[in-house]
């Protein structure tokens, strides 16, 4: 509830009275659970980023070719994004907005930790992929960044289409799999024809 409101209207645009109303209680009762608006926001953000990283975790270390594993990782990311649109939007809101500075530090710390962990896993995945000759011999840091940019683009499309009605979305149906094929073609070692 709070997470949805924060995601849709932002930190400053969401009042504690609205959150309470959504929960069927009155504003002062919130203070039995959280010491302040900041604490509430941090708690909600913490839960969001944890859900996100958990839902996304497993696939990379599974079985199959590097292509299959990366695709399965992508599928878990996309299905989470589709099922939990405001969880992701909240993470973006927290990253982008700078409510008052005090809260910033704590959020940045949470993000840093999760980001470092994710990059470490990606790095090892791509290192192996290059070593096994399935992925093109590009610097691993470029591969990692390329992947993160690809995902960011997909997610952006998803988040932006929440507010305004955009046309065709990158996540409509299985369209993202077409984008994935092009992405993989860009980093694959051997370059099959596309058709």
């Amino acid at each position: 509830m709070a997470s949805r409101l924060f995601a849709e209207r932002g930190y400053a645009g969401t009042s504690l009275a609205e959150i309470a109303a959504g929960l069927g209680i009155r504003k002062p009762s919130l203070y039995n659970y959280y010491a302040s608006k900041d604490e509430l926001f941090v708690a909600v953000f913490e839960a969001s980023i944890r859900d996100w990283s958990q839902a996304t975790r497993p696939a990379l270390d599974g079985e199959g070719s590097f292509r299959q594993r990366l695709e399965s990782h992508l599928r878990s990311i996309v299905s989470f994004a589709v099922d939990n649109p405001h969880t992701l939007a909240l993470c973006r809101e927290a990253l982008r907005n700078q409510p008052n500075g005090a809260i910033r530090v704590r959020i940045d710390e949470l993000v840093q930790r999760q980001e470092l962990d994710y990059r470490r896993r990606l790095r090892s995945f791509f290192e192996n992929g290059v070593a096994c000759g399935e992925i093109a011999p590009v610097p691993v840091s470029v591969l990692v960044l390329s992947w993160q940019t690809f995902i960011d683009g997909l997610i952006s499309a998803r988040i932006l289409e929440l507010g305004s009605l955009r046309g065709q979305s990158a996540l409509d149906g299985d369209l993202y799999l077409e984008l994935w094929r092009l992405f993989w073609r860009g980093i694959a070692a051997s370059q099959e024809d596309i058709a």
Copy 2:
């Protein structure tokens, strides 16, 4: 000034008193220029999206191979994004947030118009590229979406790093050109080796 504040703190998080202070005047004086906060925001957003689309326009229809023209288009996008970080952030903020609904409609209309125009130009560019055999025979709608996702990913990286200190950014130095090489490799008709 107003654009920077709206971009950094969002619509709800920016007060008219702050904007006025940034301009060296008092709050009520703003009402000599704009009838309301909504009008001010729409005006600032309109200017931002216009600057963005103008700075980005020329390259696609220039001379050279499709690869050269798309790369030059990318360069103009990235250099605008680096030079005008909060102009882009404001566009994102306007797209994402839904301040009160009245303002939404007008912003969506501005976005729709510019978006349709941009997609039309991309579509014609990619159609020609495929027809000339320089770009892989993929449905044009997929190519267009793929490009927009690529750009969204680069821009996201830029915007997110404004607030929090992220590690390596996709737009540090010429790193984005490495990502571009992989992107092009994914959509190119003939697939040279990467090394």
